[in-house]
């Protein structure tokens, strides 16, 4: 309570210092009036508020629009009450700070009706249109496109005179043209409007063109609209293709991260690590724990989590290798079973420690949001970053394998274990290092996955079969094969998905791989030669 009072006081002093003289009443007085005024008399109050101090009123208007605006009966303080998961959350309207919960009878809701809502929307748009940020002006314009009326068009016209940002001006032109196309009596004006709209990708433009094609009486306008619509749909299709491609690449990058560690252990040691999925899970839980440890620095937590996840999963991997796999050398099927046992133990361990429920890992702010290229195409930043991360990890791995002495040893063991041993390479150590490396990468994959899905004990299981498919499809012992296979499968999945649905898409991909393996048992890029026999 005290907080809100202080904020109100600050607000008041700010208002006084800026000294708007356009209204005869102070904002403070208006806000108090808002709590008592009758529904049908509320518009003038809101209008006064908008004129007085538009920018500051945005949160208030938005809260009111959502029907979440309440006031405290005793002192007329405004606050927002939102129900989240059945629990009421009390926040200050202006600052958004959380407040102490109050008894229900102490507060009263400020009601709104449709007329008020319409006014609020317009008002919000007007406020945003006069915002100093060109981006928020653009956003406001786009939100206005679906509800153009004469007053908004007039507002837009008047604001256009002083507008300097070209893309905002373009959008304003679009709004004016759309209004003209649907309301103008002159065919030439409508034709002009269609021409102005040509090349725009906004959904509202598309809807308008569709209805124009249907209802337009003038042949010329109709023809022009048809042409515009056709080219518009072409372009939308192209962008949707790019969008699918992006989602495919994104899935591919996840598969790559999950599978590349498996590819190394499988390729070098001929060992199927059924606990690989659990290495991913451990990485994801590491991220979760790191965030719990540093709740105030979520933005930086990933930079701690990535190396830590590598270390955690990597050392568990080394332990598994030393403790179990080493003793099963040359018996791949037994290794498969033993590592499956380990995966069961690890899963149950996590269930016991962290509970079987899923945990939410927060995304740092720099990873949330999206890259809006145009109204049809927007790429989410977290997927973009993960794609880059996957390629980076892959590149690093190639570097390690091709440029370091560890890599040389690993490749030697992969090609001819006995010869490598004879040359004095300590194959047992190489095995442990390889397994640690593969598991560590799985851990980093877990960090990436925690940014896309919830973290739970079954996280690894969800990806393990797909990872196997990638490795087998790409050809064992060939990292490039893994890369190609991961992206091929990811993209294929996302392109089949819209046609058949997600489940059927994964079934189709699985069946395809089963058939493919039978055609080419050694994968896309098999190793050749007598050593490969």
């Amino acid at each position: 309570m005290r907080n809100s009072l202080i904020i109100l006081a600050c607000l008041l002093s700010m208002l006084l210092s800026t000294a708007h003289a356009s209204s005869d009443k102070s904002t403070q007085a208006l806000l108090i009036e808002l709590t008592t005024v009758k529904l049908n008399k509320a518009i003038p109050v809101l209008k006064a508020l908008e004129e007085n101090d538009g920018d500051k009123m945005l949160p208030l208007f938005n809260t009111l629009l959502k029907g979440q605006l309440y006031y405290v009966k005793s002192n007329k303080d405004l606050l927002s009450i939102e129900k989240v998961d059945g629990k009421k959350e009390y926040t200050d309207v202006f600052s958004g700070e959380a407040l102490e919960p109050l008894a229900t009878k102490l507060t009263k809701k400020i009601r709104v009706n449709n007329k008020l809502r319409r006014f609020l929307r317009d008002s919000i748009a007007r406020i945003q249109l006069s915002s100093s940020e060109p981006e928020s002006r653009e956003k406001a314009l786009i939100s206005l496109l679906s509800q153009l009326d004469e007053s908004t068009i007039n507002t837009i016209r008047s604001l256009k005179v002083n507008e300097s940002n070209t893309s905002v001006i373009e959008l304003m032109d679009v709004a004016i043209a759309m209004y003209a196309l649907s309301n103008s009596a002159e065919a030439t004006e409508r034709l002009q409007a269609v021409r102005t709209l040509d090349g725009r990708l906004e959904n509202e433009v598309r809807n308008l063109l569709v209805s124009t094609v249907k209802n337009e009486a003038d042949i010329k306008v109709k023809a022009a609209a048809e042409k515009s619509l056709a080219s518009l749909e072409d372009r939308i299709e192209n962008y949707q293709f790019v969008n699918k491609l992006f989602f495919g690449l994104s899935l591919g990058s996840v598969l790559l991260l999950a599978a590349v560690g498996l590819a190394i252990t499988f390729g070098v040691m001929g060992v199927i690590n059924m606990a690989h999925g659990e290495m991913i899970m451990l990485g994801a839980y590491t991220t979760y724990v790191v965030q719990m440890m540093m709740p105030n620095a979520i933005d930086y937590s990933l930079w701690v989590a990535i190396p830590l996840a590598f270390l955690v999963s990597g050392s568990v991997g080394v332990l598994i290798e030393r403790g179990v796999i080493r003793h099963l050398h040359g018996r791949p099927l037994e290794t498969l079973l033993a590592t499956f046992g380990i995966s069961l133990i690890l899963q149950q361990l996590v269930r016991t420690i962290f509970s079987p429920l899923n945990r939410q890992v927060e995304s740092p702010t720099w990873m949330s949001g999206s890259l809006d290229i145009n109204p049809v195409l927007s790429l989410t930043l977290n997927r973009l970053y993960i794609l880059a991360f996957a390629l980076l990890v892959f590149g690093l791995l190639l570097l390690i394998l091709n440029r370091t002495s560890l890599g040389l040893n690993v490749r030697a063991v992969a090609q001819n274990r006995n010869m490598a041993k004879a040359m004095g390479i300590r194959t047992d150590r190489v095995d442990a290092m390889t397994f640690g490396l593969g598991s560590g990468i799985a851990g980093m994959a877990g960090v990436a996955l925690s940014q896309l899905t919830n973290v739970g004990p079954n996280l690894g299981q969800a990806y393990i079969i797909d990872s196997f498919m990638v490795v087998v499809f790409g050809g064992v012992g060939n990292l490039w094969g893994t890369l190609v296979a991961a992206f091929t499968l990811g993209i294929a999945n996302k392109f089949i998905e819209p046609i058949t649905g997600a489940v059927l898409a994964s079934i189709i991909v699985l069946v395809f791989i089963i058939l493919f393996i039978q055609k080419r048992p050694k994968g896309l890029f098999p190793q050749k030669g007598r050593a490969a026999e």
């Binding site: 001929g270 040359g330 046992g341 069961l344 489940v503 089963i514 048992p521 050593a531």
Partner: protein
């Protein structure tokens, strides 16, 4: 790719008598126990010390189904070196075939009272029976399907896989993918198998109510008889020259090819045989537990079967049976006492058995026997001299 060779290079220096001469005594023992248990359930009063509850009978019946499933895995893994991580799929398919028959037997006693359509189809607003449900109200059709569907799938899959010489871990992985694909498919309502919930609420089988003790005993005895039959048949098959070729393929597939055997054909037929056994086991399982759902397809289930076989001792028929019964008994007890502990125990079992007990319980048994025989031999020598 040296590891692909090493898959099969494991030394299998166990008894020359591959199929194990203990099969017949074991079958006898199995049958005696079965009839004794049934007798104790039916003829003794409930307060008798020797009374066996119907719950126990059903549990035993379930174990015997698992034993048959383990036997199916053992036949291909223990004798032919094919590690299938997807045998749960054949089990579930057999189970679904039986489930479809039982579903049709419900008739108009379902919640919606539709004489033709099972409840879930009414719920999905379907108006007629899909083609693959036609005829499933006939017991014999369902029984043919129990064998045919898993057999056919195994044939197609095996033909494709073995012909292109997919072996070792590759094969294991694609069998796992197979059951995973089926799992996803059966979860879909559109498949027409009840989706997520599967098939359940069965009423009766061949006119006998599934709630009756006598029906349960009947199912239990049928399962025991089928298991005996399968044990004897498998014994005969594996003792024949065919069985010798199978073991030869396990130990040196290339060599078997070079002396003129089309190894892929042998493997396909053995795989089909094994899949049919798994299907029959599934069909016997469903009326006893009263439900079949897509969970049976889950890859984890299939891997669990493998550990039953490993515990009992692969490459010995009765080892698989004993392993399945023991592990499942342990599971029943464990989950009752400390449910969270079971997965730890199962995981540890996987690790410990592969590390320290590669021949399973039967291997231990053999070692013990050998030692005793040696001691005996020494004794005989000593007394002679």
């Amino acid at each position: 790719m040296s590891f692909l060779n090493s898959v099969f290079s494991t030394k299998w220096l166990d008894r020359g008598d591959q199929a194990g001469s203990r099969t017949m005594p074991f079958v006898l023992l199995l049958l005696v126990v079965t009839f004794l248990a049934s007798f104790c359930n039916l003829a003794l009063p409930a307060d008798s010390v020797f009374y066996v509850s119907t719950y126990t009978i059903t549990l035993l019946g379930k174990y015997l189904c698992y034993a048959m499933l383990a036997l199916a895995v053992d036949i291909i893994w223990g004798y032919c070196g094919i590690l299938s991580l997807g045998h749960g799929a054949f089990f579930a398919l057999g189970g679904y075939a039986m489930g479809m028959y039982l579903m049709r037997q419900i008739g108009d006693r379902g919640v919606y009272g539709n004489p033709e359509l099972p409840d879930f189809m009414v719920f999905l607003n379907w108006t007629e029976l899909p083609w693959f449900w036609q005829g499933m109200d006939q017991f014999w059709v369902a029984m043919v399907m129990v064998a045919l569907v898993p057999g056919l799938l195994a044939y197609v899959f095996g033909w494709l896989a073995f012909r292109s010489r997919v072996t070792g871990v590759y094969l294991s992985i694609i069998t796992q993918a197979l059951t995973y694909a089926l799992l996803l498919s059966f979860f879909r309502n559109e498949m027409g198998f009840g989706g997520n919930n599967g098939l359940t609420d069965f009423k009766d089988i061949l006119g006998f109510s599934l709630q009756e003790d006598s029906t349960r005993i009947g199912l239990f005895i049928t399962t025991a008889l089928m298991l005996s039959l399968v044990l004897i048949a498998s014994h005969a098959i594996l003792k024949s020259r065919f069985g010798k070729v199978i073991v030869a393929i396990r130990d040196g597939e290339d060599r078997a090819r070079f002396i003129g055997y089309r190894t892929e054909r042998y493997k396909v037929w053995l795989f089909v045989y094994s899949a049919v056994i798994a299907g029959v086991a599934g069909a016997l399982y469903v009326p006893q537990v009263g439900i079949i759902n897509p969970g049976e397809f889950s890859p984890v289930n299939s891997i669990e079967i493998v550990i039953w076989v490993a515990v009992g001792g692969r490459g010995t028929l009765i080892g698989a049976v004993i392993g399945a019964i023991l592990v499942n008994y342990a599971k029943t007890r464990f989950t009752a006492i400390m449910p969270d502990g079971w997965l730890f125990a199962l995981g540890a079992l996987f690790v410990l058995v592969t590390l320290y007990l590669p021949k399973g319980i039967m291997g231990l048994f053999d070692q013990f026997n050998e030692r005793r025989n040696k001691n005996k031999a020494v004794d005989v020598q000593e007394t002679a001299s």
